[in-house]
Symmetry: C3
Subunit: 282 residues, 3 copies
């Protein structure tokens, strides 16, 4: 996963913390994290990336963080999904590009780290002096990640957080499958958005590699089903109610129904396997 | 639609950007916009007006923006609803009062522009130097509106954005119907809020014009149905479970059930026609 | 309800306003409050505690505010739940610790005031010079609480808001029941969170008092049902699918199902009576 070639500069942001969690918005969980950050680092700017990651859905959280990252100013990026389960293992801080990622060592951060250019150094967050006290076993976001991120903004170095971790010991989330074969690109459904668009792990560049370009027709195989649809610049290029493939705002191939809901129409859940090839023009 | 006579001063806000979208909160879309703004204009204050406008519902978005505007400090006001569909046509910046509105030329901004005193000048946003690159055809909020708004906060003038547009070429959303006839005011359901209150396009001033005042009884015709209800200061003025009409916080006449849900009770969808007259006191 | 012994300092936050409401996120209501605050006090930092308190659910709002408070920097804390109903009575400002609470005199603020160390002084907010004009009878959050809180941040004193109220005249919400008897602790379900965890009014300290410690087995009586479950540090300490009791991040005893939904499994609504005793180890 390479970062898109968007050029966003960060002229003079002194300290930014971004937050991605599965805490939801029906409680005070997110506010607790904001409060801790502001109490420790009052000038820090906080950006809420997303708090409605489905509870425990590490892959969805990883995808949102990695796809949003190119548009976020450099800063400390907290991820907190499935943190209270055994998956969370230990808390880590990973340096990549001009960013520091803070969260559980469960793979959540790994796609964003790759999008930022790959890990340069990683640390186990174990210096309890930097934590809230006591630490609740079920809320590291508030008691560990938030105060640690705030203290990084106040001048602490990642190396102060705890012992360095060899980079090959970090848990990496398997990247979404995307294979380019003989005239076909295979991948999986990455996510469904609120408009019912179906985002694939296949990119526009993958399609170009197999010779499919905007204006062509796509032959799509999903399990036993086979359909064709036009590949266009945007879903608005087809009549309302029609299926279309387009390159979405994250550079991925996505299926849409103009003024409709492709997820519902196609019944494709996240993880479903999809095969794309050049189809006969309609 | 005239601005309510609330008196909110803005003593020393240097730069404020407000955001109203139909992006939802389940993705990183809103955060992308925040990130772009902060990357370009780090000191800008961002106010999220609403991101749960139903996807593509331009009228609902226009109503929320116009009704919230009198309480927002002067600044750059981004609206992004239905931006990827053909309706969006071109991107515009409209100057009105001490505000600049940025968004699609699909009518979304028009009610807020009126609430701000009417358009003084409008520009087609076409200066691609000010955009992110590349521009995704489906995400002008992130790639066009956000960077343009941020650059306006950093000193760019609306005239730098592109060619001026004659004001009579802007697409205006038809205002909600509200007619005052012989002893009756007619209008439509503007919106239903989370409490189940039914907001009409008829204002308290309209009722005064036909001689209906707080304390009177309203005769309400909805299609073939006819009911009466008291017109009071607030829904708390009637016993729990009772229907009541009152002037809501946006100056509109609204139906409510004290401690209940008027939308459910009456089954009135947005756009439904309603006729109000003075009723026989109960 | 004593404040948890977490140690969060607030080194140099000049002015913070926090907002807890039942306004929802589908309208511009929250943004109106932000806009009013920023218009009057442009440097103020705003923390959104929660806006999805179920409409009119004063106890739920009170619980969220009190449990989040220890993590919020000192400031002005606005609560606005059920404000348009008769319950709201009058608007009050209550000083407690280094905080000021602003909202309706309907009990909403009372648990947070206790968590802040108890009321030191209270005032009826009646100085209309400090309000927006006109005041909508259904939106004191925007027209009264927001401008008053902003003016407190700009140097106004609580005593400027209106006449002092004897502390014994404030409406107090009955604290959630929690009784410690002979070898048993009784309480009620306080809330269900998005993960399906069932939070009780019983604290870990209450369990210690009756001799139940982490590692023991709990005998739980709910109406006629009796079950046992392990009492552990965290829900991750039991196999997926298993019931467990643990001390949650607010210091309360909670039931969970590891990787599951205890609220659904147990069918316990808020307010349900629960009795806990030491069980025979499994």
């Amino acid at each position: 996963m390479t970062p898109p070639p968007y050029d966003v500069q960060s002229p003079s942001v002194t300290s930014v913390i971004t937050l991605l969690t599965d805490y939801g918005l029906e409680d005070g969980f997110v506010a607790s994290c904001h409060g801790v950050i502001i109490s420790i680092a009052p000038q820090t700017r906080i950006i809420d990336v997303c708090h409605l990651v489905p509870a425990g859905d590490i892959r969805r959280g990883a995808a949102i963080l990695a796809q949003t990252l190119p548009y976020l100013p450099a800063g400390v990026h907290i991820g907190a999904v499935d943190t209270a389960s055994a998956s969370a293992r230990r808390s880590i801080a990973v340096e990549a590009g001009n960013r520091v990622f803070v969260g559980p060592d469960n793979g959540l951060l790994s796609w964003a780290v790759m999008a930022a250019g790959g890990a340069r150094a990683a640390y186990e967050i174990s210096n309890t002096e930097l934590f809230l006290k006591p630490v609740s076993p079920t809320f590291p976001g508030r008691d560990i990640y938030a105060p640690v991120a705030a203290r990084l903004c106040m001048g602490r170095k990642p190396a102060d957080l705890g012992p360095e971790i060899p980079l090959d010991r970090l848990l990496l989330l398997p990247p979404p499958t995307a294979r380019i074969g003989e005239g076909a690109a295979e991948g999986e459904v990455l996510s469904l958005d609120r408009y019912g668009n179906v985002q694939l792990s296949v990119t526009a560049d993958d399609l170009a590699t197999i010779g499919v370009h905007v204006g062509d027709t796509l032959a799509v195989s999903m399990g036993r089903r086979q359909i064709t649809m036009p590949f266009r610049d945007t879903f608005a290029a087809v009549p309302p109610g029609n299926l279309v493939a387009f390159t979405d705002s994250a550079g991925k191939v996505a299926f849409a129904v103009n003024s409709g809901d492709a997820a519902q129409r196609l019944g494709l859940p996240p993880g479903a396997h999809v095969r794309l090839a050049r189809g006969v023009d309609i």
